[in-house]
């Protein structure tokens, strides 16, 4: 465990607290990744800053054009949100595959993203939703496409002390799916996962956004396959060709959880199933 955990009451207080803390510090949100790492002896920060109850990072808000999910909103609260249900179908489809019910009562999308794991179910789905991430560092704010936050395994574009404030999902009429292959039906880390959102117009794809988990160094936005699908009707041939294309776009590895070839193959299978589900 760290030597100290501080718990600022507001974001303003957080920025004021920082200079007095050990440089070897990390943020604590839901705790499901960082405390596990600590219990396993691989997390060795001297100081954690508990941001899980900061009011500025909670709540789900809507504007005319977007929905904003606070970075520290619990996954189970997103599941209960009517706004999220309406505007984030791929994210909602991912939630049953996100860890277990009790971990969903603790975990947050902010932690899921900041942890930087390529297998993160929540952020892979958010990438397919075309989400943006809002970051804050003292007075400075910036907004990035979420897909650009991830640089490699456990590496993100977050600067020292920068905080994830919220995720912005543009409101648009679209369908979403999230399919995952893990060691069992529920509560497992994925071997491969596919998140898809599509806007259909007269049976043809207006816009598609495909993201994949556990098959690249980052939650992968499949830029080529997504672009290729635009303007096409979802026929069996198109779906088959999209599956072949996506398999060429991923770069899975063989590790303790699965084999590279199997993972690549499953990306095609899962994308076919996801696109099939939009046909009716």
């Amino acid at each position: 465990m760290p030597e100290i955990i501080v718990k600022p009451a507001t974001l303003k207080e957080l920025w004021k607290t920082l200079p007095g803390l050990s440089r070897n510090r990390r943020y604590l949100a839901g705790g499901t990744d960082i405390v596990t790492a600590d219990n396993a002896g691989v997390e060795r920060s001297e100081c954690w800053i508990d941001i899980s109850d900061l009011p500025e990072l909670g709540g789900i808000k809507e504007t005319a054009s977007s929905i904003f999910i606070g970075s520290c909103v619990k996954i189970s609260a997103i599941e209960k949100s009517a706004a999220a249900r309406r505007w984030c179908p791929a994210l909602l489809a991912a939630i049953p595959h996100f860890a277990s019910p009790s971990l969903r009562n603790m975990a947050t999308l902010g932690g899921n993203a900041a942890n930087g794991s390529p297998c993160a179910d929540g952020v892979t789905a958010l990438v397919a939703e075309g989400a943006f991430v809002h970051l804050a560092l003292k007075g400075k704010r910036r907004r990035l496409p979420l897909k650009d936050l991830f640089l490699g395994p456990k590496r993100t574009a977050l600067k020292k002390d920068e905080i994830i404030a919220a995720f912005e999902i543009p409101k648009r009429k679209h369908l979403g799916a999230y399919l995952k292959i893990g060691p069992r039906a529920y509560f497992g880390i994925s071997k491969a996962a596919v998140a898809v959102s599509v806007e259909l117009s007269g049976g043809a794809v207006k816009l598609a956004c495909i993201a994949l988990g556990s098959v690249a160094p980052v939650p992968l936005y499949a830029v080529k396959t997504s672009a290729w699908l635009a303007g096409k009707k979802l026929s069996p041939e198109v779906i088959r060709d999209a599956a072949a294309l996506v398999k060429a776009e991923v770069s899975p590895i063989t590790d303790a959880r699965s084999a590279a070839d199997y993972r690549r193959e499953m990306c095609g299978v899962l994308l076919e199933r996801a696109l099939d589900s939009f046909q009716s």
């Binding site: 030597e3 955990i5 405390v35 596990t36 860890a99 277990s100 603790m106």
Partner: protein, 160 residues
């Protein structure tokens, strides 16, 4: 700030009683429950959120206390297995059906299973067998198996 002064003034409700304690700020919720409060019904199994033996209710939601820090309980309500009771102050319906169905062998997973089941039945008193299975996805039992547990939870729906 040194580790010696790194304390936190924790204020919370525990099984209906107000608790105010000065605690080491890096205390896990599980250690706070077992060591500071002396409530030993909550167990540590895996320490990585896989087994559910450490489950408690925080603001009515089931959480894994091995992965939560005590500071995160500040201003909230904790219910441990010791706070699960029937309306008459005796055994809770889930405790009765777990006993009647033989859903307990070594008993290590039982507090977590009862907490998870209670969270579900509070939210959804008409939970189906499938709902119960999904809700208990994060609770491992290595000796009783799950059939008797599932049937105990099903029977508790009407025993309430």
């Amino acid at each position: 700030m040194t580790s010696k002064t790194a304390t936190f003034g924790l204020s919370c409700l525990v099984n209906g009683h107000k608790v105010e304690r000065e605690i080491p700020s890096s205390r896990s919720l599980l250690d706070f429950i077992r060591e500071d409060l002396g409530l030993k019904g909550t167990k540590e199994g895996c320490g990585e959120g896989e087994c559910g033996a450490c489950m408690v209710l925080v603001d009515g939601l089931a959480v894994n206390s091995c992965l939560m820090m005590a500071v995160q309980l500040h201003g909230k309500e904790l219910v441990t297995i010791e706070g699960i009771k029937g309306k008459d102050g005796g055994l809770h319906p889930l405790q009765k059906t777990f006993m009647a169905e033989g859903a307990v062998q070594c008993g290590f997973c039982t507090p977590g299973l009862i907490i998870a089941s209670e969270a579900l039945l509070r939210r959804n008193p008409k939970a189906t067998l499938e709902d119960i299975k999904l809700e208990l996805a994060g609770n491992l039992c290595r000796c009783t198996g799950y059939e008797k547990v599932l049937s105990a939870v099903e029977k508790a729906k009407t025993a309430k």
